[in-house]
């Protein structure tokens, strides 16, 4: 089976972070997933969505629901977060996941709606 259509970032520790984008209607939907290469416990961390607009400016949104505890993940690839945004032509997106103790600093690849394999 092929991997889901995520833009994966570089591996760090036992994990990789991926992001995919879709535009099912009047919104952009983004979904972040982790792919484990080792241990099955995902530590609690700070999850942020970065938006890079067509003029190059980058904004960060760290708001929204977040886990506060480590999560056991049975699957190799697990979707862990989602966002719904107003459409912004030319914008690209990246997710980051940082564990407070500095043990992990995961970044996904940048995605745009137009380029995402998951576009619908």
């Amino acid at each position: 089976m092929s991997d889901p259509p995520y833009a994966w970032g570089p591996p760090a520790s036992s994990w990789q972070l991926g992001l995919r984008a879709t535009r099912p209607g009047h919104h952009v939907e983004l979904y972040a997933a982790v792919r484990r290469t080792g241990e099955a416990i995902l530590p609690a961390g700070t999850l942020t969505l970065q938006t890079r607009t067509s003029d190059g400016a980058i904004t960060e949104d760290g708001s929204g629901p977040r886990p506060t505890t480590a999560l056991p993940l049975a699957e190799t690839v697990t979707e862990i977060a989602g966002w719904r945004l107003p459409p912004d032509d030319g914008a690209t997106y990246r997710a980051t996941f940082i564990v407070p103790d500095g043990g992990h600093a995961l970044e996904s690849g940048w995605v745009s709606v137009a380029e995402s394999p998951g576009t619908s």
Binding site: H27, E29, Y31, L47, L49, D61, G62, S63, G64, P65, R66, P67, T68, T69, A70, L71, P72, L73, A74, E75, T78, E79, I80, A81, G82, W83, R84, L85
Partner: protein, 338 residues
């Protein structure tokens, strides 16, 4: 207290501890003159059954079970409901006391006709996140030959009531424990067998507020963490990580003159149900009114608010089972759900 004298081992029917992904609990012993309960184990997990015949000795209660069983492998039935190769009989009124038929002590052990199926399932408005079983294959301890007639009561649906191993799928949530029932009648060789058991369909139902934590934030003035646990309809915390999403149902309403604070995106996360949080930030200092830290004298000045809801079962915004409606209220120095 009573003395229970007779003891047998069996791998058959069950007084099932109810579970739908959680931990089993020992069944209660009724006051019936003769009661039996047992656990039916899954493959490689032998079960022990104990036949109890009160004989007036108060010292002993042998009403223990062998060991906890994995979820989804138990069922239960009453003696009237399990009639191995018997003539068709009227279905009795449901009873909470599980008591399979008792064989004569000298008779060769024969497994009573029974159903293999889950003792609990979940309903998340049609979603099936990992760890939350919403459907299962039913079976009996007989060959597939013969005719089968399956029926369900409560928030359950069947793929095909006339096959040996149909799939049962949840269609809603239980309103009382064990208010769902699965029954089967098998006819083969001119004889009829019947069995049935009860189960509970659990569902995420509410958020239990745990605490609010406010802290100063260099970029946005403050950040507030609103902590919750996720509960089922009977007040028990869900057993494993589950997707939850926030959905804003109207535009913000300003509470302060000249307010130009922005609202964040709607979000979703895979949350640990015992403690997760909504992270709510203030605003950058170029906006009106200027955000302040949580300890500031004006931290409680209202800025704006908007309504919305929390749904469990999906990372897609607005989908899943609604567990709470809230108003997001942002102040100059903190934020709350009201």
């Amino acid at each position: 207290m009573a003395w229970y004298s007779s003891l047998i081992e069996s791998e058959q029917v069950s007084a099932a501890p109810e579970q739908a992904g959680g931990q089993p609990s020992p069944p209660a012993i009724s006051g019936r003159a003769q009661a039996l309960f047992a656990l039916q184990g899954s493959a490689g997990n032998r079960a022990v059954a104990r036949l109890m015949e009160p004989a007036g000795h108060p010292e002993s209660e042998e009403a223990t079970v062998a060991e906890p069983e994995p979820p989804g492998e138990f069922n239960e039935l009453s003696p009237e409901e399990s009639e191995p190769m018997s003539a068709p009989a009227a279905e009795p009124a449901g009873t909470d006391t599980a008591a399979p038929p008792v064989s004569a002590p000298s008779a060769a052990p024969a497994a009573p006709f029974h159903i293999g199926g889950p003792t609990g399932l979940w309903w998340l408005d049609g979603f099936s996140p990992a760890g939350y079983k919403t459907s299962a294959t039913l079976s009996t301890n007989t060959p597939a030959a013969g005719t089968f007639a399956w029926t369900v009561v409560g928030p359950l649906g069947l793929s095909d009531p006339a096959v040996a191993t149909p799939t049962v799928t949840t269609t809603g949530a239980s309103t009382a424990r064990r208010d769902a029932k699965i029954s089967v009648t098998r006819t083969a060789g001119g004889k009829t067998q019947k069995a049935s058991y009860k189960l509970t369909v659990l569902a995420p139902d509410a958020l239990g507020h745990l605490r609010n934590v406010d802290a100063a934030d260099g970029a946005f003035g403050y950040v507030s963490h609103v902590h919750y646990k996720i509960l089922d309809q009977f007040g028990t915390t869900l057993p494993s990580a589950v997707p939850i999403n926030e959905h804003f149902t109207a535009a913000p309403t300003a509470d302060a003159a000249g307010m130009d604070w922005r609202r964040g995106n709607e979000g979703a996360v895979l949350a640990g149900p015992a403690d997760w949080m909504d992270v709510i930030q203030g605003e950058s200092s170029t906006h009106t009114p200027t955000p302040v830290g949580p300890a500031h004298a004006n931290a409680g000045d209202a800025v704006y608010h908007w309504p919305g809801e929390w749904r469990v079962g999906s990372l897609s915004i607005g989908l899943g089972r609604r567990v709470k409606s809230v108003t997001w209220q942002k102040y100059r120095g903190r934020a709350r759900h009201t």
